[in-house]
Amino acid sequence: MKIGVLVKQVPDTETKIKVLDDGSGIDENGVKFIVSPYDEFAIEEALKTKEANAGSEVTVASLGPSRCVESIRTALAMGCDKAIHIDDEGSGPDSYVTAKALAKVIGDQGFDVVFCGKQAIDDDMGQVPQLVAEFLAWPQVMILENLEISEGKAKATRRVSGGAKEVYELTLPAIFGCDKGLNTPRYASLPGIMKAKSKPVETLKISDLKGDANNKLEYSNFRMPPEKAPGKVLSGEVGDQVKELVRLLREEAKVL
């Protein structure tokens, strides 16, 4: 099987985000970048699929600035075989343009199945995989909880609200958005890190892939959320406290 996995490089979850003075974006100075955590589940699922299907190969693709290659190396160290880095050429593509470029690469590569995280943890858009599927006219299942693949078909289970589950049967090629709980991602082992050095990374340019697509979104005026006001502790008789609470909820919080 030809297996693809899409990886996005994002700021570490523990980063203290700072907004640039002119509000044009976040200050990347001193930010540590990591593989988006949901993409780790995608990498693991891709590697498991490879192990279950002899002769398979996993290609990791990442779109972004040159620093993305660090995250690509992590995926290669975990066990992916080769990689494609799509240089965004500083263009700041939105989900639409990103999906256009990725769809082109996926189509050209002829993948049988593509895994990605259900969303990236930086902007939490959760749009790219669905758009890619749409552009390729492939089936897609997001928030994947379980997957069985055999003979060109897949049975995919996804969580929906209220604890219910949906089960889909579909024909490959398809794209799957992986969620926590699907598997336990392996570590980039030390021998894996050493092997990753010699695995091939091909670099493509977004301008050669996106066609005539242009951003539909414009980002501006980044601001930090207002600081949360401290909580209030009520005191006195329980009955009075309840009355006061109701009054506050009605008059101050305006939720009643």
Partner: protein, 593 residues
Amino acid sequence: MSGQFRQGASWLLTEVGKDKIFIAEDMNDEQKAFGQTATDFVTKEVIPVSEKIEKKEAGVSVNLLKKAGEIGLLMAGIPEAYGGLGMNKVTTTALSENATHQGSWTVSYMCHTGIGTLPILYFGNKEQKEKYLPKLASGEFIGAYALTEAGSGSDALAAKTKAVLSPDGKHYILNGEKMFITNGAWADVITVFAKVDGEHFTGFIVEKDFPGVSHGKEEEKMGIHGSSTTTIVLEDAKIPVENVLGEIGKGHKIAFNVLNIGRWKLGAACVGGCKRVIEHTVKYVKERKQFGQPLADFEAIQMMIADMVIKTYITESMMYRYAGCLDDAIDTLDKTDAEYEKKSLKMIEEYAIEASIAKVFGSEALDEVADLGVQAHGGYGYIQEYPVERFYRNSRINRIFEGTNEINRMIIPGTLLKRAMKGEIDLMGEIQRILSQLKDGFAEVDIPGTLNNKVNMVNRAKKLAVYVSGVAVQKYMADIKDRQSFLLDMADFIIEVYAMDTAIGRTLQLLEKRGEDQCELEIAATKIYINDTCARLLNHARQFCANVAKGDEEAFGKYDKAIGRILEVTPICTLDLKATLAEKSLDKEGYPI
């Protein structure tokens, strides 16, 4: 072959900045990735079962060691031919530094990869290496090292465990009891030292399943509760003759050389410990409020954090310098040479002084940092629920094991003087030069930038260290080796000179790389450390010379005048520098450099 050989302790006589040192910032992506894997593993696998580890729940720590083995964390330093990765000391420093989030487990891990594995790696013959190293590399076997006995701790060669060749010549029969053995209850293979016929101190590779080998009950310790510490009991233990490690009667070579490596590894782990304490402390002081504001806003707390960061910067600089220096020296050797391991050992021996310094400085730095961490926590720092309490208790052992800090301190001037006697290092010539410079004046160096004055101070501190040592040696001559008080003091001068030389060396290299405005924190830490330390050394030198003069006022007057000429210290304002260090640390919620 490439690399570069630097003579051990040559920094004592070399001007600041003349020799390029290895700095943590020079690590390559692969080395950083290794460190990241260690961090990921410990935070995701070890920390969640911390309480089980502390209670020594059966199998928990050992399984974690085996899991660490699966992802390669035990194999880095072992050659590829024996199932390892053949990585250098800088790489293993990155691992040691990052495997430090759970102190008890850190000790188990460091023991296995250090003194548990290294004796076989450096002294084993081909068959022994083939038999044991792949299993130690994968974690199939857990390693330990048994030197200490009830009656012989620091005086390790006075061991009573005896080995006698069996009548058929196939086994050595060992009898005795080894004490305080880390990984004692878990180890599959242990390097045991015993005296053949009660005389010839020798190393043996002992498997736990050999007949007559057992371990005692777990010791109840002050800290590192989750690590195993037991006796190893040898009752007519039958050890095959092919398991003699190295030569009969040459066990001391194994014992001391392995400790050299172990000492630096301990120092490297202490760097990680310091960083963890800073992380816990900074997070706490940002949350905890008193007088209506977070503790982090109080200057008293900020000064503590700054001091923690400064100490950590110096310690980190030292461990990577040592590792890089040893790598450079080993890189001059031909890997295909049959004597490669033996020659590598020579290099390790060459840096025995630096290894002891790393051990002493690292363990004392962690103790200081952990102490400040507890203090910044106030009453909660004394409560077990807060991780800093455990760091404080766990830290204490570092000043004791792998040779007490006193033993290590005495090794420092002891080794230096021995080398001077043999003419290997020109200490006597330097003393003569200093004596004439005292008359003619000292030359100043002039380097552009903000650190010029500090460079000159460190150069002078080197001269001060040599001068005071010379004063003591001149008075006591060969007897100095028995004057422990003077030796301990001399060690302090030498240790601090190495610390300052390393810190300023790293900062100068960073300045060249990034420019002054990108090195604010490094410059602040370097300036404060050098000023504080030189002021302390100045006082210390006068006290030292008063002890040598022993009431002879004229002699003391002469020494005192010389000391004043060699080193002058003008205090600098440190408040803003410390405030910046604290602010950046609070901002990053951890070590900011």
